[in-house]
Structures are given as structure tokens and as C-alpha cells.
């Protein structure tokens, strides 16, 4: 994938976040159980937060500062994929979200590595770290909610 300018790259990133947000919102609407709908609404809200952050960068108000590498707990690496379905439970929702965040992290990392422009590389690296942080939050939640006895 190639971007002509930093703004192009950022717009691509915004689109990705919008897609994710929309995906979670639609999933929330499909849930049979109201408490699961609320969970996906919260996930969507998190993606909205990301989008806002990227917009801030475009507006020249970068709200994130360079981050050290976020540790990967690898909680979801060996778990089987979960297909989104209306009767999903919280455990499945978290597995799904961890995997989605991991995929987003991988995408931004790839884009960062493939960027020739150093500003763009740094930007994608930052976005990748944001996704990694996001994933880590889900990993910790999974660890605490579903692995307390494991």
C-alpha cells in the first residue's frame, strides 16, 4: 500500500477506525441480549476515540506522544477464531476484539515498515502502538475476567 502524503495516510487510518466503529455498532444492534449490546457499544466508543485522536493529528494537535513498545501478552494467539453472532457472550466478544485489535496492529506495523517517508513511518508506528495498547486492555480484561483460575 502506498500513500502520497501524510494526510492521505491519516485519512486511510480514519477510514479504518470508522469501519471498526461501524462494525461494533452494527454488532451491538444485532445482539439478542441487552448487556452484550452495551459491551459492543463501548467497543465502538473506543474506536471513536481513536478516530478523534487521528483527526487531532490532522488538525495539528497530536494528542499522542511517542510510546515505548507495548508488551504483547499473546493471550489470544492460540485461541480459535470467533465468528460474530447474535448470541455471543462476553468471553467470545473479548476474543473477537483481541483478535481484531491484533490484526489492526499488524496492519499498521506493516504500513510503518513499508513507509519510505520517515514522518509516515513514525505515524504508522504510533498508530500501531495505539492498537497494541488497545489490545492489551482487552487482554488484561480477558485475563482478569476469564483466566482468574488459570
Amino acid at each position: 500500500m502506498h500513500f502520497d502524503s501524510l494526510v492521505d495516510a491519516l485519512e486511510f487510518a480514519i477510514e479504518k477506525e470508522e469501519e471498526a466503529e461501524q462494525f461494533y455498532t452494527e454488532l451491538a444492534e444485532k445482539m439478542e441480549r441487552p448487556h452484550m449490546a452495551r459491551i459492543f457499544e463501548n467497543f465502538a466508543e473506543e474506536e471513536r476515540g481513536h478516530r478523534r485522536m487521528i483527526k487531532d493529528v490532522i488538525m495539528g494537535r497530536p494528542s499522542f506522544v511517542p510510546q515505548p513498545r507495548v508488551a504483547d501478552l499473546q493471550v489470544s494467539d492460540h485461541l480459535m477464531d470467533v465468528a460474530p453472532s447474535p448470541d455471543m457472550d462476553y468471553q467470545q466478544a473479548l476474543i473477537f476484539a483481541m483478535k481484531a485489535e491484533k490484526a489492526a496492529y499488524a496492519l499498521y506495523t506493516q504500513l510503518s515498515e513499508a513507509s519510505e517517508d520517515s514522518a509516515m513511518r513514525d505515524l504508522f508506528h504510533l498508530l500501531a502502538q495505539e492498537e497494541a495498547k488497545h489490545k492489551r486492555r482487552f487482554e488484561i480484561e480477558y485475563d482478569e475476567q476469564f483466566s482468574g483460575e488459570n
Binding site: 439478542e32 448487556h35 492460540h78 470467533v82 462476553y90 488484561i140 488459570n150
Partner: protein, 496 residues
């Protein structure tokens, strides 16, 4: 000048409770610990220094007057001792055996600083067993019917407590239980060698004699919904527990020979597997059993597997210090020969040509850098995968509430994991006339917390039925819990 009171020297020698030796008990399902003989109980009770500010009481979820019952044991006034306990706890024979005292009353005992904390749980058990041996149950008078009917969903410790408290206040109580026996986890989960079934049966029989009506094999949400029951009952308490097992969601968990802890223990407990070899075990005889998890449930599974003749190992992702099981049970398991593999994570299970599990692939872990909360979380060690032979796996990593009641009761507010949301002090839910308590609200927790929640809900239901708003403390008698439990003082006795 006042004479200086002579100080009693501290006795820090916590008295041991006799147990079956490990090399004997690992071949039978009989109770491991025998309980204190009378003289030892009295000696132990005399060690109490009777602190003015009894921090043991503050750390007891149902606030038993611990110094008072300990003093009664020291004075050999056992009848008084058990009376004091039962003012707050109607199932002492059970709690004395399975409560995590080391995290509650005994944790804040003043003597803990010198590693000589009083054995409060063992003394509670002693009194309950003493009372049962007396063989006589005083049946309390049941007040005249108030004209109100209460349905209790689930016959675990939460439901049993509600039923016992409300029948003694003159309401008619019916328990609806999905299984064929009452007792909840106490009968289908906790194995015979830790909690003999006879003790739970005694409680259940007592409630029936008080007049509690029981419908077994009745799944609320399927046989009848909560709303349909509300056409007949004035109030409903939901104590349906957390019986939905979690799996790890790794490949191979659907192979034959991979059980949930629930299934494994239920087969043993309800299908008389613990009478092996008299009864043929309803579980295939396995040679190598791997139990995943480090809680009480995992210990129970691993120790059961051992008793059925298998080599039994606990696979736990973290280190020994983090094991959530009671320390006493970990020690018992180690003595009996359960093998512990710490910092080990199963990645997948491999089956044979007939679909039975034959191997598991594991990965070794190490504790990572402390995170913001200061906790060191396990992370995989690259390249540390190994394949181990197994012929059964028991997944004991935790449970959620079964979603059935939540999904069949419109308007009932649920939490993230499908637990019912209920007020901590009253057990009231988002729906009028519906209360809830125990594991269905908190997620998998403890017997004493389930009982405590049942007691609070019973107070609130009684208040409501007598015309209050559910926040009073028992509208007519004003004495709250104690009236019911005083009268309940025979609940733990032998019903001869």
C-alpha cells in the same frame, strides 16, 4: 494502687486436626480430616486472647460473634457455643469445612502476626459436629401462615438460606431445583472427601420437615418462566448459581475425554462415582489426567482423578504463589501426590483416530515485567512448546451464570457476564417481586457469601411481604436475621 493483672503467656501452638494419612486417603473418597477431639478443641479455644476489638468478627462475612463462641468452647459449654454461631450462620457444619477462613476471620486474628492464628474454622466445625452427635432436633414453632407464597429458584446455599429464613417467618416457600437433588454445588461440586453428602442431606431434610415444599427436576426458564411463576407467587428469589463452565477456546476441546470440571465432578458426585469401586464409576478409567486451572475446583478435580487411580496433574499458567485455591487444599493435594506444573499453558489437544484426546501441546510461561497495577502477568517463552501424553483433560478455569433465567425474564437487568444485577444490601433486582443472590449475582464465589446474600434477601422479601418497601429490617418483628436463625438452631442436627 490496683493490682497488676497477670498476663497469660501466649500459646502459639495451633492445634493440628487429625487427618487420614495421604497414602491411605488417596485411595478412598472418605472425608480427609476427622475434626478435633473434644479435649483438643478446648485446648485450642483456650489459646484465644479475647481481643477487645475482635477483628476476626469484622472479617467474617456474616459477623459471627467469634470470641463468644470460642469462650463457650473453652468453658465446655458446647450447646451455648453452637447457639451463638447459629444466630448468624445456619450451616456451620458446612462453613466450618469449606469456608476460606485463612482469608477471612483467621487472617485478622491478632495471633496471625506470630503465625499462631486461632483455628476458628476448625472450632466451628467441632461445635456443629458435636451438635449433630447429640442426635436430637428441636423443631421450632412455625408461625401462622401470613397468606404469602414465595418461590425460590435453585437449591444451593443461597436458596436454602432464603427458604429456611422465610418459612420461619410464616410464609409458604417452594424451592424449584433443576437437578434431582437439593444442595447445589455442595452436592454436585464439592467432593465427598471434603464435604460428606450426609451433612448437606441433613440440612435439606430439616428444611423439608419445616414444611418447605420442593420441586426437583424443574428448570425455571424452561419448565415454567419466572413470569409464569409470578402469577402464583408473591415474591421470587433467584439463587441459580454459576453453573456454566468456561473453556479456553483452544483447538481440540471438543475431543472425547475433555471434560468441564462441572461435568467431571457431577458425574462423580451425583452418579455415585465416589463409591468406586462399589459403584462402577460413570467416568471412564483414565491413566493420565491433566486438570487445567489452579482454584478450589481444580484441586477437587485433580484429587478426585487421583482417587480413581490416575496420575493426576494440575496445569497452571502462573506460579505457586498465585494459586487461588485454599492453601490447605493445595497442601493436601501435594501430600497425596498430585503433580503441579506451574507457568504452563495448554495450547491445543490432539486426538486419536477415534476422537479421544491422546496428547496436549503446552507452552512454558514466565512472569513479565510488572504492569501499571504492579502485577506481573505470565508471558509465553518463545520455543518452549512440548507435547505431553494425556487421556483425559478437565478444564477448571471458571464458570459463569447460566443465561437461561436472564434471557427468559424480560426487564431483568444483567451485568457483562450475564450475571443478574442486584442490590448488595437487599438483593432486589431491576424487576419488582424478584430478588437474587449468591453466585448468580457475584459470579463464582463462596458458600458463606451466597448464604449471606440469601439472608439479606430474605429480610428484604419479608419486609416487602409485610407491606414495607423491602429496605426495612423485617417489618413486623424488627429483629431481622436473628429471629429466623435462632429458631433455626436445629438445622445442623441429626434428624433422628
Amino acid at each position: 494502687m490496683a493490682e497488676k493483672k497477670e498476663k497469660k503467656p501466649l500459646d502459639l501452638n495451633r492445634r493440628q486436626m487429625p487427618k487420614q494419612p495421604p497414602e491411605v486417603r488417596k485411595y478412598n473418597f472418605n472425608e480427609v480430616a476427622f475434626g478435633y477431639p473434644e479435649d483438643v478443641a478446648v485446648e485450642e479455644a483456650k489459646r484465644c486472647i479475647m481481643c477487645k476489638k475482635a477483628r476476626c468478627v469484622q472479617n467474617c462475612p456474616v459477623e459471627i460473634d467469634i470470641p463468644a463462641f470460642i469462650q463457650a468452647v473453652a468453658d465446655r459449654n458446647f450447646a451455648e457455643g453452637i447457639r451463638i454461631i447459629k444466630q448468624k450462620n445456619c450451616l456451620p457444619a458446612i462453613c466450618g469445612r469449606v469456608c476460606p477462613q485463612e482469608d477471612q476471620c483467621e487472617k485478622t486474628c491478632t495471633l496471625v502476626k506470630k503465625e499462631g492464628q486461632l483455628a476458628i474454622g476448625r472450632l466451628e466445625r467441632f461445635l456443629a459436629d458435636w451438635e449433630a452427635r447429640q442426635g436430637h432436633v428441636e423443631m421450632p414453632d412455625i408461625p401462622e401462615w401470613t397468606g404469602k407464597n414465595v418461590a425460590v429458584v435453585g437449591g444451593g446455599p443461597a436458596g436454602l438460606t432464603v427458604a429456611g429464613d422465610l418459612i420461619l417467618r410464616g410464609h409458604r416457600v417452594t424451592i424449584f431445583e433443576a437437578l434431582h437433588r437439593l444442595g447445589g454445588v455442595l452436592v454436585y461440586g464439592i467432593p465427598e472427601f471434603r464435604l460428606p453428602k450426609e451433612i448437606v442431606n441433613r440440612e435439606v431434610e430439616y428444611l423439608k420437615r419445616l414444611g418447605v415444599e420442593v420441586h426437583t427436576d424443574f428448570v425455571v426458564g424452561k419448565t415454567r418462566t419466572i413470569d409464569s411463576l409470578l402469577e402464583e407467587y408473591d415474591a421470587i428469589f433467584v439463587g441459580s448459581g454459576a453453573g456454566l463452565p468456561w473453556f479456553m477456546n483452544i483447538p481440540g476441546e471438543n475431543l472425547n475425554g475433555v471434560y468441564s470440571a462441572n461435568e467431571y465432578l457431577t458425574r462423580l458426585n451425583l452418579m455415585k462415582g465416589y463409591l468406586f469401586p462399589t459403584y462402577h464409576t460413570p467416568i471412564k478409567a483414565h491413566r493420565r489426567v491433566a486438570v487445567i486451572g489452579g482454584g478450589n475446583v481444580a484441586m477437587d478435580c485433580a484429587r478426585s482423578a487421583l482417587r480413581l487411580g490416575a496420575e493426576s496433574r494440575i496445569i497452571y499458567r502462573r506460579s505457586r504463589e498465585e494459586l487461588p485455591a485454599r492453601f490447605e487444599e493445595v497442601e493436601n493435594a501435594e501430600e497425596e501426590g498430585v503433580i503441579f506444573d506451574f507457568l504452563t499453558l495448554p495450547l491445543r489437544y490432539i486426538g486419536d483416530e477415534n476422537g479421544w484426546v491422546k496428547e496436549m501441546v503446552i507452552q512454558k510461561m514466565e512472569l513479565g515485567e510488572p504492569d501499571d497495577s504492579g502485577r506481573r502477568r505470565p508471558v509465553p517463552i518463545e520455543g518452549s512448546e512440548e507435547t505431553w501424553p494425556v487421556d483425559a483433560v478437565v478444564c477448571a478455569i471458571g464458570n459463569s451464570p447460566n443465561p437461561l433465567i436472564g434471557t427468559t425474564t424480560p426487564g431483568l437487568k444483567l451485568g457483562k457476564k450475564g450475571n443478574i444485577e442486584a442490590d448488595e444490601e437487599t438483593g432486589m433486582t431491576s424487576r419488582e417481586k424478584i430478588w437474587a443472590g449468591g453466585d448468580i449475582v457475584t459470579g463464582a464465589a463462596t458458600v458463606i457469601l451466597a448464604m449471606g446474600a440469601g439472608r439479606k434477601a430474605a429480610n428484604s422479601i419479608h419486609d416487602y411481604l409485610m407491606g414495607g418497601n423491602g429496605h426495612g429490617n423485617g417489618a413486623d418483628d424488627g429483629s431481622g436475621a436473628n429471629t429466623a436463625s435462632d429458631a433455626n438452631a436445629g438445622a445442623d442436627q441429626n434428624t433422628t
